[in-house]
């Protein structure tokens, strides 16, 4: 039935062995990484504390750039968070078998990315300690949030996205944890048997399990697309020249997938190297990923062209002035960096060798991440810097505080991910088994 059923592929027992091996006690390199990341994280919290204590002024924000790197990074992480559910849900529905070996890692990435992103609205708020005003909770003042504000949509979209992907993640894990339980002993066994909910893989369990999984996938699919659309409306709903555009929803979603896949590669390639998972994460997987990055990259390029065209064609003086300023003035370098990283760099993936070479893929992915971060930066900072009112035009300079916090957010993400790969199976045991031929005694009765 499926081409992936090759006789050379490992047996079920191998799968369990290989995957469980990745959970062996880590080496020094791992701990070195942990320490480094933890150090950065400490800096992150120090900077944040300072900002809360002395005020938003610690970050380089000003009039007119009342938003800057925090929202940039927020959108960036939300974008990263898209690949995971996309892979596990949409590709699941499309029965794209190559997803199986990477989706677990991708899902974890999604959750951690969204968690990281979730920090930024808090960091960004002038009175972080009142952030709960945004939640609709009954209170003696009869006050409720304004459901017409895109920020409240964000609250709902992101919290929904986080919880649904988490659920999806956990459901996927249950059978694997059962396997862990049966392979392990002592206290680990006790913990795992709790987490496994007593899974046995009986036919009734599988029936409902698969149905549920399918439905979850079906729910998650539109959700993925909605979340970044909602985030994009933070801008599209606003008046600022360069923001006020119906293009934004698809534009953002595509960019999100683009950067998401880049991040997946950045995480998967080292894993495959260090855990020797070449048998499961094969070149054809990398190839498929490469193709996806290439396609989304091309689509993104198309959107850039549309964006430019519409603002020129609009004949709107202010709109055009804003664009011209972006392209030529203070922040031009950021714009051109973005164009290079997002439009030019991925083109190398037209070349099959590049798509299968880990090194090139890795470099391209990093460039893509840089490019996508700058895309958000270019949407926010220059647009605000040169908007309707010439009196207040101005240049934003990052301060140590917001720089530290942006860098620190990466450490937050990687800390979570490093933890994950050592605590939970980073490959789906069950689904990997699905991709390989089940043991058959005599061909005659087989298929």
């Amino acid at each position: 039935m499926s081409d992936s059923r090759t006789t050379t592929s490992p047996t079920f027992a191998d799968v369990n062995r290989d995957v469980l091996r990745s959970l062996d006690p880590p080496g020094n390199l791992y701990f070195a990484w942990m320490c480094f990341v933890a150090l950065l994280l400490a800096g992150f919290f120090a900077a944040w504390a300072g900002q809360v204590w002395w005020g938003m002024g610690m970050a380089g924000k000003r009039v007119p750039q009342m938003w800057a790197m925090y929202i940039t990074t927020f959108v960036f992480w939300i974008g990263i968070g898209h690949a995971g559910t996309l892979i596990s849900a949409i590709l699941y529905l499309f029965r794209a078998r190559w997803r199986t070996s990477i989706y677990r890692g991708a899902e974890a990435m999604t959750i951690f990315a969204v968690m990281t992103a979730g920090l930024f609205p808090l960091i960004h708020a002038g009175r972080m300690w009142f952030a709960y005003f945004l939640l609709p909770y009954p209170n003696q003042r009869f006050l409720w949030p304004n459901f017409r504000s895109p920020l409240v949509w964000d609250v709902f979209a992101i919290s929904t996205y986080l919880s649904v992907s988490t659920v999806f993640f956990i459901v996927g894990l249950v059978p694997d944890i059962a396997a862990l339980r049966d392979a392990s002993t002592g206290w680990r066994k006790r913990i795992f048997s709790m987490l496994a909910l007593g899974w046995e893989g009986s036919d009734t369990q599988w029936r409902h399990y698969r149905r549920a999984y399918g439905l979850l996938a079906a729910l998650a699919t539109p959700l993925v697309l909605s979340v970044h659309s909602v985030v994009s409306w933070d801008f599209a709903m606003a008046l600022v020249p360069g923001w006020h555009s119906t293009l934004f929803a698809p534009f953002f979603v595509d960019g999100a997938i683009f950067s998401g896949f880049a991040m997946v590669l950045i995480l998967i390639l080292p894993m495959r190297h260090f855990f020797h998972l070449h048998a499961y994460i094969q070149d054809k997987h990398l190839d498929a990923m490469g193709k996806l990055i290439l396609v989304t990259g091309l689509v993104l390029t198309y959107f850039y062209i549309c964006e430019t065209f519409t603002s020129i064609y609009s004949g709107e003086h202010i709109e055009k002035a804003s664009l011209f300023w972006k392209v030529t003035a203070t922040y031009a370098w950021a714009l051109w960096t973005m164009y290079f990283c997002n439009c030019v760099a991925p083109l190398i993936l037209f070349w099959k060798r590049a798509r299968t070479s880990p090194v090139i893929l890795y470099v391209v992915s990093i460039l893509v991440l840089i490019g996508m971060w700058f895309e958000r930066f270019n949407i926010i900072v220059p647009s605000l810097g040169h908007d309707f009112y010439p009196y207040t035009w101005g240049i934003y300079y990052p301060s140590p505080t917001d720089t530290m916090i942006v860098i620190g957010s990466f450490s937050f993400f990687f800390l979570l991910f490093l933890g994950f790969i050592k605590l939970l199976p980073s490959l789906s045991i069950v689904e990997v088994k699905e991709t390989i031929a089940p043991p058959v005694r005599d061909r005659a009765h087989g298929h």
């Binding site: 409720w144 979209a157 919880s163 009986s202 029936r207 409902h208």
Partner: protein, 178 residues
Amino acid sequence: MATETVLGVFAHVDTTVRALEQLRARGYHDLTVYTPLPVHEIEEVLERDRPVSRVRLFTLIGGLTGIASAFILTIWSSMVWGLVTGGKYLVPAGSGMSGSSLPPFFIIAFELMVLFAGFATVIGMVVLGRLPRLSPSASYDPRFTNDRFGVAVHCAPERAAAVHELLRTSGAEEVKSR
């Protein structure tokens, strides 16, 4: 009446399927099959005379609840103060729906629909799958999460011998009664 459970452990899919076919032919319907992964061929045999999983019902109810609660929450809470923002009233006066500022609420409705439906689905799975269970069932064997398939036949004690025989002949590595 007391039943006995006969468990056959298989190493291969085809033997497992053969065993199941024969059991069904002999009229044994009270079976539990353990597999490390959902196997298409086995499901084919088992699902023939079973209704579709009822999880989807949970999903439906969850989704509808989500939509309803979203609209109730947004509309009601906006009417508590009836504040005007951006020159738009919540409730239109005269000029029909066009005059109102309801559209944003559909976003909330969508999100809550997904959220509630998602949770409902999982609950459905857990409930219908008889999860969570604290101690493993009698006929369970750890190998079933690794690379072995198990067929547990629940039958009257007097017929146990026949089942033993059947399972062995159809290629079970090991057959035991529990």
